[in-house]
């Protein structure tokens, strides 16, 4: 179990070595999320269309270790963009991964860029 969590590490833009071409923008729901596969990883990507911004994080919820965060509802708490896990409504900041309504470990977040209607996720491996 810990092994799964360990494979997800927050990646800063300056550390990105690979910009992985995930999918076309149109593949993602507006103001919602979907999941992509990168090697053995599952990454949740969220399209905050209202704010014209995108976020990415691990798909696995650190609470019960299920691959579900991409199916969660997104929103904002005091200006911080967040996702609520569909299992038990644990909420996580999509800026720094912090658990906003409890003391679960933070989730890993990844940088996103949009070019030519395509969504790219930044990885360092």
């Amino acid at each position: 179990m810990e092994k799964i969590l360990e494979s997800y590490k927050t990646t800063a833009v300056e550390d990105v070595t690979v910009w992985y071409e995930a999918a076309k923008v149109s593949e993602f729901p507006k103001n919602g999320g979907a999941c992509i596969k990168y090697k053995s990883k599952q990454i949740a990507i969220f399209n905050f269309e209202r704010k014209n911004s995108w976020y990415a994080c691990q798909n696995v919820c650190p609470h019960k270790m299920e691959m579900v965060l991409s199916r969660g509802m997104i929103g904002e708490q005091s200006g911080v963009p967040k996702v609520a896990c569909p299992m038990h409504k644990k909420t996580f900041s999509l800026e720094n991964g912090e658990n906003l309504n409890g003391d679960l470990p933070a989730i890993a977040t990844y940088p996103v860029k949009i070019e030519n209607d395509t969504v790219y996720i930044g990885f360092s491996e």
Partner: protein
């Protein structure tokens, strides 16, 4: 860095660590904790909830990595067997030694086992740790399988009664055996004990008072108790809960001063006879007393932390309050102050109501100046107020009996008057030592904005929880005094409650979440307001959950119920529970084809579990092809209308309950509401459909149907109340249309009909006026709205599988056709289940 070693990882030992972590000197110390139990500190106060389904993890006081995160070394399953005061070291059972600058004894207590012949027999247990509970549970299972059911609990005190309830929950006949002539002898007088006894006997427990056990009968395993008076009680199991004994062995061995009857002697700084060694919790003998409650233990932990970190001014109060309030076997019991006080300077006022099962006693100073103590059995709702009046020595009303009888002058005001009249140092939460001043200033200084903030920053209400209503009153009153309106709003994005939003959306005709947010809200919304607005739109326009799926709650978003491992369950509609053999075979084929775990639900349908997200549309294609449609088991909407077989077959049936149940289910299927809705139709008053525990229930009687509304199973069961009698099918439907629409319009989010009726001013009589007499002149409107919803029903699964765009959301990955490879199933009785969470 100074070394602090803590022996014992129980509630008080943990609290010591928690207080230390919060101290500003924490970085100057290194803490090492030894616990002999195999797990981290857990909540022993709520131990019996272990049988109610809570796991050891649920009861745990901290998360698994809390100690590591705070750089505390926790050694579980390690018993300290030696303290060397000269070298300032401790040694564990393996002989490893650890040095300390300060040593804290938080070894707690063990169950006291009286010296009765035969306590070593098989089937005799104590009630103290999770391991004890596990052993009791497995022994109970074993004897039940042999047809034996009698279990005794030795000790009628607080813990003994908890244990007796637990034994009863395990399906055994519980007998409480107490040496004293009354239950809870430390807290209750005879009158209080009598009332408690009759309440718990009503629930099927037996009480045996003034019984001294001479020996335990049986050869290997226990077979009974023989009392000194010659009588006996045949039992197959015994749980001893006759008090506690401090765990002071290791302290005594190293020569620390101890009391005659055990306990390590401490002064008001929690120091023992050795300046480097502290004792806290149930091992500490303070004022020549062992305090078996968690609140004084927590205070001791705080004092010890302060003393070690140099704040020598904080000491233990000279007098320790032993007031308690709790719910025992469903009965509220409280005692405070000097509860059993009698004497020349005291007047005792007693109120007893056997009909209602309530006993109240207060002890008042002869001159009427103050409240000295009291007892409440059967109704402790006034405990918080009485405790404050006692604890802060407030002036009493002219007629002190008003305190337990209520003012009969008629203003109906609360006992305390205004909570804000309490002095600032009034202790509101005794578990966490939080005063009124702490609570109010947390809001006044701007660090907290609402009840949730106050609870998380002061910890008030996180112990036994008894003070929560008062904390809420204080928070509301403080906010109000600052001119901040306390409004029941949906979330930070909307300054409206659900009913107001409903009216706005209806008036403006909004069809999109963003329209509502842009015009009437702020920010980007959240997981609270999105589903509320989705539900309102559905109730107003018969919108399905496909329309705007990103604002739907977890289950509605994928039209299925998400389960423990992130797979889904599928429930097709089977109206009234009637199904042809052909269709039943189709269900069997579908279950087999997709290898789904299959179970019959409580609502007379079939539930398939373990469907992956990407399998959902395939399964539904098959089901729809064979004439099934969505059962809306995932929605806050009508689930089922359960039926008994009625007069079509039953020799007692008064009417065709199945036909009517099918008609009602077909009418209201898909109806989105503030919470889920369930119905039932019974063909006679034997009530085989259990209609009265549903949101609406219809029962055939001579001359028509009786219509009941607002019942509930679930966590707070409630029987539905009679709305109308002996009415025909058309009238049932007319009243139901009105009732359901009125509920949908006015309820709060996620408020079931039972709770809604509880809060409805005027209750069922008012509801009758609205629904039957049309007192609000709304009936036509309500009926017309329902008619629109009924006419516009669409099966949302049929809609989803016919639309390519809508289908996209069921792919696990957008960039791959692969399925989620994280899923692991294990076999279970010829089917499968998800692997357990580790």
């Amino acid at each position: 860095m100074k070394k602090v070693v803590v022996i014992g990882n129980g509630m008080v030992g943990y609290k010591f660590c928690e207080k230390f972590v919060a101290s500003d000197k924490f970085n100057e110390y290194k803490i090492t904790v030894f616990g002999e139990e195999p797990r981290r500190a857990y909540d022993r106060v709520h131990l019996s909830e272990f049988y109610a389904g809570k796991t050891a993890e649920d009861l745990s006081m901290s998360t698994a990595d809390w100690y590591a995160q705070n750089n505390i070394d926790l050694h579980v399953s390690e018993m300290i067997t030696e303290i060397n005061r000269e070298h300032k070291t401790v040694a564990n059972h393996r002989g490893d030694t650890y040095s300390y600058d300060y040593l804290v004894l938080a070894t707690g207590s063990s169950a006291f086992v009286p010296p009765i012949n035969g306590v070593e027999k098989e089937g005799v247990f104590v009630y103290r740790t999770i391991e004890d509970l596990e052993a009791i549970e497995s022994y109970a299972k074993k004897i039940k399988s042999e047809g034996k059911t009698q279990a005794a609990v030795l000790g009628g005190g607080l813990l003994g009664l908890e244990a007796a309830n637990a034994v009863k929950e395990l399906g055994l006949e519980a007998h409480v055996v107490e040496f004293a002539p009354r239950l809870m002898p430390r807290q209750l007088d005879q009158g209080g004990s009598d009332m408690l006894q009759s309440k718990i006997e009503e629930l099927g427990l037996s009480v045996h008072l003034s019984k001294q056990t001479e020996y335990i009968q049986g050869t290997n395993a226990i077979e009974g108790l023989k009392y000194v008076d010659g009588s006996e009680l045949k039992v197959d199991m015994l749980v001893i809960s006759a008090g506690i004994r401090p765990r002071d062995e290791v302290a005594k061995e190293c020569g620390l001063d101890a009391g005659l009857r055990g306990g390590v002697i401490v002064d008001n700084t929690m120091k023992t006879s050795d300046d480097s060694i502290f004792a806290i919790g149930e091992v500490a003998l303070y004022n020549n007393m062992i305090y078996g409650l968690v609140a004084p233990g927590y205070d001791m932990a705080e004092v010890a932390v302060a003393q070690i970190t140099g704040n020598t001014e904080l000491t233990m109060a000279p007098y320790i309050d032993m007031s308690t309030q709790l719910k025992l076997i469903g009965t509220e019991v409280a005692s405070f102050g000097d509860a059993l006080l009698e004497g020349e300077d005291t007047d005792t006022i007693v109120y007893e109501n056997k009909r209602k099962g309530v006993y109240k006693r207060i002890n008042v100073a002869k001159d009427g100046s103050k409240l000295l103590g009291g007892i409440l059995v059967g109704d402790s709702s006034d405990y918080n107020a009485l405790f404050q009046i006692y604890n802060t020595a407030m002036a009493l009303p002219e007629d002190p009996e008003d305190l337990i009888l209520g003012s009969r002058g008629g203003d109906g005001g609360s006992l305390l008057g205004d909570v804000m009249d309490l002095p600032d140092d009034a202790q509101i939460c005794s578990c966490e030592s939080v005063s009124k001043g702490d609570i109010c200033s947390a809001i006044q200084d701007g660090s907290c904005n609402d009840l949730g903030d106050v609870i998380s920053c002061t910890k008030a209400g996180t112990g036994c929880g008894g003070c929560k209503p008062m904390v809420k009153d204080l928070v509301d009153a403080t906010l109000k005094s600052l001119g901040r309106e306390v409004k029941d709003v949906i979330c930070e994005h909307f300054e409206y409650n659900r009913q107001e939003l409903y009216d706005i959306i209806k008036l403006k005709g909004y069809r999109k979440y963003d329209e509502v947010l842009n015009h009437h809200g702020c920010g980007d919304g959240c997981e609270v307001c999105k589903p509320v607005i989705a539900s309102i739109m559905a109730s107003l326009h018969a919108d399905t959950a496909n329309e705007e799926y990103v604002i739907q709650d977890s289950n509605d978003r994928f039209l299925a119920n998400i389960q423990r491992n992130g797979t889904y369950s599928v429930v097709p509609r089977i109206p009234g529970g009637e199904i042809t053999p052909e269709k039943l075979i189709v269900l069997g084929e579908v279950g087999k084809k997709y290898d789904l775990y299959t179970k019959i639900t409580g609502g007379q349908r079939v539930d398939f579990f373990g469907a992956r997200l990407d399998q959902l549309p395939l399964i539904w294609k098959d089901l729809i092809e064979h004439g099934f449609e969505s059962g809306h088991a995932y929605g806050k909407s009508l689930r089922t209308v359960k039926s008994c077989v009625g007069s079509t077959w039953c020799r007692y049936g008064m009417d065709e309950s199945v036909s009517f149940a099918i008609e009602l289910e077909e009418r209201y299927k898909g109806l989105r509401s503030p919470h889920k809705l369930k119905g039932g139709v019974s063909g006679c008053i034997r009530e085989c459909a259990e209609a009265r525990c549903k949101d609406f229930g219809v029962i055939a009687v001579e001359g028509g149907w009786n219509l009941y509304v607002c019942g509930n199973g679930g966590a707070n069961p409630k029987h539905a109340e009679l709305l109308a009698e002996q009415i025909d099918n058309e009238t049932v439907i007319k009243y139901l249309d009105r009732f359901l629409m009125y509920y949908i319009r006015t309820a709060a989010p996620l408020e079931r009909t039972a709770k809604w009726l509880d809060k409805l001013e005027g209750g069922i009589d008012y509801l009758k006026k609205v629904v039957i007499e049309d007192s609000l002149a709304l009936a036509d409107e309500l009926e017309a709205e329902m008619a629109t919803l009924v006419d516009n029903f669409q099966c949302e699964w049929t809609q989803a599988i016919e639309d390519e765009e809508m289908m996209k959301r069921f792919n696990h990955f957008v960039n791959s056709d692969a399925a989620d490879d994280n899923l692991v199933f294990v076999p279970l009785r010829d089917q499968k289940m998800p692997k357990h969470w580790s």
